[in-house]
């Protein structure tokens, strides 16, 4: 199969997974074109400056996926298959059924290029030419220390994301509620905090309404006891604070832990316990990097409302890897430089050809 036929088959399978967002064959080929310079450069020599070049994928690729967000695993697998590599994917111990379902939708010639397992065979580590590792700092550090010299190592650490509502016009709260609620807020593109220019307290009330509306149509996924305990604890703490501090207000779903909105008149970034618990804070006009200092370097996406250049300019100095419209945070384009890096470019080896064509 050449690159175009692989892209076509992958796009057809991806269409069964709404969590992947738009994923056409053209989207995938465009990523190859953007990152490698030519959509067919994996299939043969193509012009490269004054000469020619061809990209060979590193193979086999080892994907190590942790956590329980299937879209990261699927995206990584799609990239590896798009390149034409043999792929070996180590899944979390409880598995990710979506990966097996995705593979079952591929034609045999492509499906055979992926093997998944909840264990990590020693030969996978020994034979892989590149390791793509998703996980916490500890997970990444562990595998980095295990990688033999010469192996390409592509780490994907955990990130924080946030929203900025520069003008709380109608629709902003519903857009934010969508970004917060999808995947129970566990994705790296899920906002922990929504910053607001203007009346943040009023926006918090509006966001609470929107969170309730979203939960009514798309109820949250079940949470573990430990997760419920965290929500319970966060709510209790803010219930206490709000009782005697007008700068803090708690909004919560009644008789359930479905959603929680905490307004806090302190721009210091607050890390959410996730599962649809979000903070609303005033945007620090003077020095955003001071209030957001703890997350700088780990900033994934910033969803902005409205999505205008002047609003993007406000957050660009914080160096997130992605600035996008609020409401679309969970649907990154395939060309997104995840963690500020290209996704395919590190997984190929180049062969240059200087032809004698004088």
């Amino acid at each position: 199969m050449n690159t175009a036929s692989r892209a076509d088959a992958l796009a057809r399978a991806a269409s069964h997974f709404p969590i992947l967002g738009p994923c056409s064959a053209e989207d995938l080929l465009e990523v190859v074109r953007l990152e490698l310079g030519h959509a067919e450069i994996l299939d043969g020599f193509r012009p490269y400056g004054a000469n020619f070049a061809r990209a060979y994928c590193l193979s086999p690729l080892l994907h190590i996926v942790s956590g329980n967000t299937p879209h990261a695993a699927l995206q990584s697998l799609i990239r590896g298959l798009l390149l034409g590599a043999q792929n070996r994917m180590k899944l979390p111990s409880e598995g990710l059924p979506e990966v097996g379902e995705f593979l079952s939708l591929l034609p045999a010639g492509l499906r055979d290029r992926a093997t998944i397992s909840t264990t990590l065979p020693a030969e996978w580590l020994r034979e892989a030419e590149a390791w793509i590792v998703f996980g916490s700092d500890e997970t990444i550090a562990h595998f980095r220390s295990q990688a033999r010299p010469g192996v390409r190592f592509e780490p994907h650490g955990h990130l924080f994301s946030l929203g900025l509502v520069a003008s709380p016009t109608p629709g902003a709260a519903d857009a934010a509620a969508r970004d917060i609620s999808l995947f129970n807020q566990k994705g790296c593109l899920s906002p922990h905090d929504i910053y607001v220019r203007g009346d943040a307290a009023a926006f918090a009330a509006e966001l609470a309404r929107a969170m309730g509306d979203f939960a009514a149509t798309e109820p949250p996924l079940p949470v573990t006891v430990a997760e419920a305990a965290e929500i319970h604890n966060v709510r209790a703490n803010y219930r206490f604070r709000s009782a005697s501090d007008a700068r803090v207000k708690l909004y919560e779903s009644e008789d359930s832990l479905d959603w929680t909105v905490i307004y806090e008149n302190d721009p210091w970034f607050a890390s959410s316990c996730l599962n649809r618990v979000v903070y609303v804070k005033p945007w620090p006009e003077g020095d955003p990097s001071a209030a957001l200092g703890p997350v700088l370097g780990w900033l994934g996406a910033v969803g902005i409302w409205p999505s205008l250049p002047e609003v993007a300019e406000l957050v660009a100095p914080l160096a997130p890897s992605r600035i996008c419209p609020l409401g679309h945070m969970q649907l990154p384009p395939w060309s997104w430089h995840q963690e500020g890096r290209q996704n395919l470019a590190g997984l190929v080896r180049w062969v240059d050809f200087e032809a004698d064509i004088r």
Partner: protein, 328 residues
């Protein structure tokens, strides 16, 4: 309304079982609601309790943000501080008298069945850490010359020379440090000796399963698991829960009770089920007698089995966790 005899009544209940837990707790709660303004405001959000189980539990964060006390600042005789490992500053527990805390600590120790031998301290003495509630308790149990915090060579020599049974009292971290100091060395304590470990590894990024820690007690001190007690307490409380060995639940005195609550409903879970631990501590007479902890526990017929705040059970995904912020 003043409650001049309440401290006395609580001490009598702790030491002699005189009175009724439910009545005393409701009275203590009413007094706290009257005299502690932040708690008063907090309680407005709850219906008035008709039984002690309905008293609104105060989250531990309250001790960081507000002065949780029934007396004016000028009457404070002692303030204990939390370790501050949550990264949001210290929690402070103020005392107008240490009499009730002392009564609860001593009675709890006795009731736990810990042998009444000479106690050796592997915790800092109260003179070094005046804001540690654990050190204050150690100061009542350990003679000044029997503190060996971070003096592991002197401790090893002293233990090797001991002829009478001892009780070693310290934090899990202190014991671990001492065991690491010993290396391959094994001491033999006099028969009947015991140990009491508490604390954990907060803020250190070190962790050791209880089974492994207790195996080290056996290896280095010759103590079987049943010779080792664990104490569960916290700065914001005045009473402690104890368990012995690896399997038994934590239990406290009659004046302190732990209910395991379903965080989704706020109702007590069934026996064998997991929930959040809420503690009703009569000895917390001058702060808050009902605390919502951050710890998970399994309800047991005779107490609870502590699970703690299990990071591996917390939300997972690719969103970064708060701990990563704190480690910067």
């Amino acid at each position: 309304m003043e409650h001049p005899n309440l401290h006395y009544q609580v001490i009598r209940y702790i030491e002699h079982g005189e009175g009724n837990f439910a009545d005393l707790l409701v009275n203590v709660h009413r007094r706290q609601r009257e005299l502690c303004h932040p708690y008063h405001e907090y309680c407005k959000g709850f219906p008035a309790p008709s039984t002690w189980r309905e008293i609104p539990p105060l989250p531990l964060g309250a001790f960081r943000w507000s002065r949780i006390a029934t007396f004016p600042e000028s009457e404070t005789v002692r303030t204990f501080r939390t370790s501050g490992t949550t990264g949001e500053g210290y929690g402070q527990h103020h005392f107008a008298t240490l009499d009730v805390y002392h009564a609860a600590a001593m009675a709890g120790w006795r009731r736990a069945g810990i042998p009444g031998h000479r106690v050796i301290g592997l915790a800092p003495p109260p003179t070094e850490t005046p804001h540690s509630s654990l050190s204050a308790m150690a100061g009542w149990l350990v003679q000044p010359e029997d503190f060996f915090w971070n003096q592991w060579e002197r401790l090893a020599d002293s233990l090797a020379a001991a002829e009478e049974p001892l009780v070693l009292f310290g934090t899990a971290l202190g014991f671990l440090d001492f065991f690491e100091f010993l290396g391959d060395r094994a001491l033999t304590l006099p028969a009947g000796s015991a140990a009491m470990e508490t604390g954990g590894y907060k803020g250190t990024r070190r962790n050791l399963p209880k089974e492994e820690l207790y195996a080290l007690f056996q290896k280095h001190l010759g103590l079987e698991a049943d010779d080792v007690w664990n104490e569960y307490g916290m700065t914001e409380l005045s009473s402690q829960f104890y368990t012995r060995g690896l399997k038994a639940p934590h239990r406290g005195g009659s004046w302190v009770r732990g209910l395991v609550i379903d965080p989704s409903t706020g109702r007590e879970v069934g026996v064998g089920e997991t929930g959040v631990l809420v503690i009703f501590d009569l000895a917390n007479i001058d702060s808050s007698c009902v605390l919502q902890t951050q710890d998970l526990a399994v309800r047991h017929e005779e107490g609870f089995v502590l699970l703690g705040r299990d990071p591996s059970a917390l939300p997972r995904g690719c969103s970064r966790a708060a701990d990563d912020l704190l480690s910067r």
